[in-house]
Symmetry: C2
């Protein structure tokens, strides 16, 4: 049941398929409402009303309410998890192994920051609903273990060999890096979005923190 890149790309393409105007309105209304009140507390009648559409129309396009949720979350999960594999950035950054670990970290954090900035209701829904839907957790696990973790591991091994990184088990190092990156993005957009942020500086500081934390 592992998903290869082609399948993931297909998921993304399906999401881009042409929709009727009403379908687009439904999706927009669903995203807004799911993000604000959560999937379980959102009724299909409420979505229909907000979208300016009859309730039956929702079920013309999505067999169930859950299918509507999946059609929203699945593509986001793929786009969020594969930072940018399947794009030119991927090969550039992960295959070619830039000498500068710092530069790499900065590219990653910047890239994920931009993504969340432009999609934060979607990311919010993903995080909220992962807590309740085991199928979403499993979906995430598969994509992560298949496409993200191994590349990270490869990366760590490389820099470790070059003595640029402290002696540390790879899973621990990866956890600390990801924790710091996601911790910034999460604090920035979910916990305290109303604070005054100097985003550039804060990303630099976060990268510095990881660098000092891991290097000899």
């Amino acid at each position: 049941m592992t998903k290869d890149l082609n399948e993931l790309i297909q998921i993304l393409e399906e999401g881009e398929q042409k929709k009727t105007p009403k379908q687009t309105q439904i999706l927009k209304a669903a995203v807004e409402t799911f993000a604000e009140k959560g999937y379980a507390s959102t009724s299909t009648s409420e979505i229909a009303a907000k979208a300016g559409v009859a309730e039956g129309t929702i079920f013309r396009h999505y067999k169930t309410k859950k299918e509507l949720l999946l059609s929203i979350v699945t593509p986001v999960m793929v786009k969020f998890t594969l930072p940018v594999f399947a794009s030119h950035f991927a090969e550039q950054v992960f295959e070619q192994l830039p000498q500068d670990f710092e530069e790499l970290l900065y590219k990653i954090i910047k890239n994920r920051y931009e993504f969340v900035k432009e999609n934060h209701p979607l990311v919010r829904i993903m995080l909220q609903e992962m807590a309740f839907h085991k199928d979403l957790q499993e979906q995430f696990r598969l994509v992560f273990l298949e496409h993200v973790y191994p590349r990270f591991e490869h990366l760590i091994a490389h820099y470790k060999q070059e003595d640029r990184i402290i002696e540390l088990p790879a899973p621990s190092a990866i956890r600390m890096i990801m924790t710091s990156l996601i911790g910034f993005i999460f604090t920035r957009f979910i916990i305290a979005p109303d604070l005054e942020w100097d985003d550039e500086k804060e990303m630099e500081r976060t990268v510095q923190f990881i660098m000092h934390g891991l290097s000899k």
Copy 2:
């Protein structure tokens, strides 16, 4: 509307008040179900059935379903947020300012680790429901800003003055420390509880990571 220590202690005492056996069963069933399926997808009839109690009994003790949730979450939030202020640990650790920053970090992470280990369904409910209930967010904000953040800030200032910490705005330093601590606990108990963890070692590594990340 800020809450002082006495009020918080009162909240904790209310939670310890004597309950009838059936009330205890209700709470246990509610915690189990809320943790697993979330507040919104849990019906009062389900809680009653699992508790072996008539549905009316729930409403004898709690005016509304929401009140039942709050009676669970509020004490957890206080216990989780004030690491251990109001206990001897608090003054010992935060007032007396141990020379060893590393030792302090270790005490904090260990302490919070133990707490979550023994209460992780409760912590899970708290995190899940904070996303949907603004009143819970506000409750958290107040306790955190009043009782946790200032002490942390004081601490950072102290170690900065002693030149044991890199030049960095306090909010950023605090964010990085908390992100790393919570990141470990979150990964350990929520994201990947089934992995094989060497908890002691992993806590040491996390403290080391923060130390290196922040010191000169």
